[in-house]
């Protein structure tokens, strides 16, 4: 009986995880895009006119990364395809500036998606010219990258079709660049309708919190109503917890987009199991700590004492010379001075060993060579710069396990 109920619970948790994971990993489109109703209406109306009336249009959807451009478009497309006479009537063509890096590849892709495979290249546009043909929706993801193609031929042709009495097309560009129109050549620009849909979220923190709650809540049609109530109650209390609110406020301050929020919630969700049937505030705090952690400081934790000493020597050099680049010889001298004067716990290392440690730091990209031509200068004299902030070094030293005290003191002291 007991095992049975645990099993059942386990399956329930799997179900919860599945439902929420689909949400957080963007595998399923939300029922309705949040906070972009007007944009949704505008885009839907525009595409509907293309599909139903055969009116050619061009539009740009502009918004920062993670603001939901693709989500909006997919929602609109879903809604559009639900309309009966549109369903069989439109041909969407998806292109991505990161995949179709030049016009030839893009044309091939268009050909493929339109099933015109018996054509060669430049004839695609000939075939687009029949006005009785089905409306084609060209969806250009990373639109700004298409503007870097030679002569912007593809954009010119697509927009030209959209501006002439040929086949009805809709050119939909998705980009995060606000200055995308400045990239277009003047004749391409003239052919673009200058219709831009901006997705700039002006979400307040209260809405943000609401959103978190709704994102974590289970849907109405959840099979187990008892668990459904329990879970949703626990989520409600979670969102009222002060520490959780603080964490979320921090995240909200950092970025308003949902993608980073989903990352946070995903980490918290993964701690839910049969024995732990709800998300606790500590889970969220831990998840937030993982999200906010400084990656460089983490790398510093894994360094050897020698490497750490070299980093400290570099920090002192930076302090002395006000951020001027240094070379290995300088670092080595600084390190030797430290050994002679203050060190009690650190042995004297041979120069090649120190060199090796220095090279390891370079490989970790904690230091970066300033010269472009590395071959000509001897390794010892290559100019380097430290890619670490003081705070990062100090933080790492605090957390470094069993760090010798003299090393710590050396790091704290001004000018070695």
């Amino acid at each position: 009986m007991c095992t049975l109920s645990r099993q059942r619970k386990g399956s329930i948790h799997e179900l919860v995880q599945m439902i929420l994971r689909e949400r957080f990993c963007h595998q399923r489109l939300p029922e309705k895009p949040v906070g972009m109703e007007s944009q949704h209406k505008h885009l839907l109306e525009l595409l509907r006119r293309t599909a139903v009336h055969g009116e050619s249009n061009s539009v740009l959807i502009v918004g920062p990364r993670g603001s939901g451009k693709t989500m909006l478009l997919n929602c609109v497309l879903r809604e559009l395809l639900e309309v009966k006479d549109v369903n069989k009537n439109v041909l969407p063509v998806h292109l991505n500036g990161l995949l179709q890096t030049d016009d030839r590849i893009a044309l091939k892709e268009i050909t493929r998606q339109l099933n015109l495979e018996n054509v060669v290249g430049d004839k695609v546009f000939v075939s687009v010219k029949e006005s009785s043909s089905r409306p084609v929706l060209f969806i250009l993801d990373e639109f700004d990258l298409f503007a870097h193609h030679k002569n912007q031929t593809l954009l010119y042709n697509l927009l030209d079709v959209s501006q002439s009495a040929q086949a009805p097309v809709a050119v939909i560009g998705l980009t995060c660049r606000l200055d995308v129109l400045e990239l277009l050549e003047k004749r391409v620009k003239s052919r673009f309708s200058h219709r831009q849909i901006h997705l700039l979220s002006s979400l307040s923190f209260i809405q943000y919190l609401d959103n978190v709650r709704s994102q974590l809540s289970l849907p109405q049609d959840f099979p187990d109503t008892k668990f459904y109530d329990e879970w949703n109650d626990s989520i409600k209390t979670l969102c009222e917890d002060q520490s959780v609110v603080d964490v979320l406020q921090r995240h909200y301050n950092s970025s308003k987009d949902f993608r980073s929020l989903h990352l946070l919630l995903m980490l918290a969700l993964s701690r839910v199991s049969a024995s732990k049937p709800a998300i606790k505030p500590t889970d969220l705090l831990e998840a937030s700590r993982v999200c906010m952690v400084d990656s460089k400081a983490n790398i510093l934790h894994g360094l050897s004492i020698l490497e750490l000493c070299l980093i400290i020597a570099m920090k002192h050099l930076n302090d002395i010379y006000e951020g001027e680049p240094f070379n290995f010889q300088m670092v080595h001298n600084e390190f030797k001075k430290f050994l002679q004067r203050k060190s009690h716990s650190i042995h004297n290392f041979d120069k090649p060993v120190v060199m090796k440690a220095f090279e390891h730091l370079q490989q970790l990209e904690l230091i970066k060579s300033m010269d472009s031509s590395t071959a000509k200068i001897q390794k010892e004299y290559q100019l380097m710069k430290l890619l670490l902030d003081h705070s990062q070094i100090m933080e790492a030293l605090q957390k470094y396990p069993q760090c010798p005290t003299d090393v710590k003191q050396w790091a704290m002291s001004a000018f070695g």
Binding site: K41, H42, V52, H53, G54, E55, V62, P64, R65, D85, V86, K88, N89, D103, R104, L114, L116, N118, D122, S127, V128, S132, S133, R134, P135, N151, T153, Y156, N157, S162, A165, Q166, A167, C176, L178, K186, R187, S190, R191, S193, H194, R195, H198, L200, S201, S202, R250, N253, S254, S255, K256, M292, V293, D294, S295, E365, L387, D389, S391, Q392
Partner: protein, 918 residues
Amino acid sequence: MVRYFTRLRVRRIYKWGGRPYIFDRKLKSYGFEYLNMSVEGQEAVTTVTPGQYILIEGNDDEYPFVAKLLKFFGDESHKQKKALVQWFLRLSEVPQNKKLLLGRSPHPQEIFYYLGRACDNEINAESILGTVHVQHVPEDTPFPEPGTKDTLYVKLSWDTKAFNVLDPVLMQDTPASTPPKPALPLFPPCASPTATPVSRGPVRRALPTPDPTVMRRAGSVSDTRATMSAGKRSTLEAESIHSASKLSASKILSAKRRGSAADTPGVRKKLQLSIGASPGKKMTRADVLCELLDEEMESEKVISLKLSSSVSHSLQHGCSLSPMRSVCKTPNGQRRFPWKLSSISLDRLSPTALGEQDFSRATTPSRRKESAMAIREPALGVLAEEDSEDSPMQPIALTPRSKRKSAQLVSLRIRKQLNLLDNTQELISDGDDDCFVPSKKDLQSSSDEEKTVSEEETRGRNCKTSVRTPHKTPSKKALQSSTDEEKSEEETVVRKTRGRNGKTSARTPCKTPSKKVTPSTPRHATPSIPSRTVPARQPGNILDEARARLHVSSVPESLPCREQEFQDIYNFVESKVMDGTGGCMYISGVPGTGKTATIHEVIRCLQHASDMDEIPTFRFIEINGMKMTDPHQAYVQILQKLTDQKVTADHAAALLEKRFSNPAPKKETTVLLVDELDLLWTRKQNVMYNLFDWPTRRHARLVVLTIANTMDLPERIMINRVASRLGLTRMSFQPYSFKQLQQIITSRLNKVKAFEEDALQLVSRKVAALSGDARRCLDICRRATEICEHSASHPSSTGLVRMSHVMEALDEMFSSSYITAIGCASLQEQLFLRAVIAEFRRLGLEEATFQQVFVQHRALSRVEGLQPISVSEGLAVCQRLGACRLLLLEASRLDMLQRVRLNVSQDDVLYALKAVRD
């Protein structure tokens, strides 16, 4: 296989043949009966007689012009050789924009009867290249299977405006061409213009490689008939002799039976017609044919009942072909008599020179056979079989009823040629049947007739098993396969096939026309996007209609505000077209000022004028520098639009060079529009050079209109020799003023009352102040109608687009999104922007590294009472701002050392941030 003399690049020699008859006393011009042409250094001579279809030297070796020769004439000195022709057009000669009128993909061998008046039908006789076989295909029958490269097919006529069904009368009747019959009967029937088809397929085959022996013999006969075609003809005859000598008794018997079966009034009638087919006949030939066929049907029905055997299948061919052909066959048939039954033919006809020649030749049949065989190209080995197969029927000529015999011979001849030509001809002849047989009753009877034919044929073949190959005996299987194949064909053909049953099977299965006569070649076909299943909905209300009218793609009724430019371009092009000269024009203007639209309008008007016959016809070709991958593709595209050829860029350049530098008898002016000229720039500028050089050629008749954005393009990017050729005919399209923009919108709306006057003025003023781009103006108006529609739910709205709507649309399109974007950024992002400005102020520079900015950022967050963020987070914030292009960043591999710059002015950032705080 060398097809035409022109390929050989040799001099051709042209000589008048026959005696001149006075054609026009006043002009002192003489008409001539035929023209002999020969190639220098070769003895081969080709005779061209009026009525034949000829090839005329054009600007394309591959596709010379085709025409039907009407008559020859020359002046007293006989130096000047001229000919009157009836032109035929290849599809490539039809203007590009009219090609769609055809409504189907053309057959590669298809030509069109030209009914226009723009082309001079008087040509220099010395531009004739040779003869060609043209066959009329009725409208609703399919084209024969391709393969007979030397035959061209006429289905439709072209009158510069539309394709029409070609009246078969036009193809047969050439009353104008018939020269006044000279009293001297040199060889009366042949002199008539209908002698052409004699030299059809076989002649063309014989043309390139005439057998020397035959040719010499032919040449030795002083008569002008001794041409290559005659040579070929004699070889055919020789074959028949050859095989005739091997005749078995049974063959003679069957032939006799066939001969008697052919004894029908219809045949006689036909013969009479053919003999008496003089210009005096008032009846049109089609009428005659109908009458004739009717008679024939009746008689044949009777005969087929009476006799178990029936008419030779040659009869069927006889009626299946156009009467003209059967008529013109006749004389040849008669000419054969002399050596077969000289006594009879002699009393019927005055012995012709040809007859004597044939007769004399008949003495050495075996040798001639050899030579005849030598003439054939190996690829046509089937031919030999066909000929010898048919030849046993020749003895029917031995029966004294010469009329019938001649008819027999005619049909025999036809059949032979049909066999010689591709088997696809069979289909054609069927088609002809359908076309010429006037009523359904006749159709039925014709199938009856065919049935009997097949019976007869089968019997005949069974007798001649030695000649026939076994697979030709009608087997169920063969029948099955052939009918199966044909099922896919049109209904009429299927019906035919059934009627024909035995006959088709009697043909070799391999000869059964393959049904893949799809004229469209899939390789070059442009695939189309599937057409929409649901028709586009019509606009519902006024705003919808206004929006449709305001779309840039909708073609306005007129182009307001470009009247002056329109007139200038119109005059320029019109004068060039009228004079038949060439020229260049350069048109510049910023985007959206109506350059291309104006030119299209000009061309539309000119096109209309040429349709009205006010100006000569011309061709309009458009290329766009943006729509090609490489400047050299321009040649390819021009050539493709001119002639439908698809070749490489180099070859295209050479062909165009040739086309534009050589004179051609019927050349239309070509108007070439080169859009986005600046993209045709190459380092050597040879593309531009050629484009501007061709119009200066004397025979080019090319008008080049070029469009680009910059006014000083010729000075800026063109080297001197190119700029000089472009000339100084320039025109600049100024950006539209607000009044013009307003006028444009008003004219587009055309009484659809959707905008308030003030709203329109606001849009036009705003756009005119910014760019003067009409496209922009239209887009804004369109957006305003949308906004209006959305807000239409307000009770106060009048349904008109008001100022507020236009303002909103303008804001959407012109307002910078940076300030909004900064306003919507997260707190840390805003803080970072402030840190950037603070660091810039500190440094006094407009650039700082991330490290420096981050120090500021940290300090600022302390001031704001925020928890300081880690470096990784700070970098993420910086990258986000960089992705939006609020900041300009160096490559991110530089990490903390990457330099940061603002992409917005500091004031804007401060303004936006201040707005957020308040």
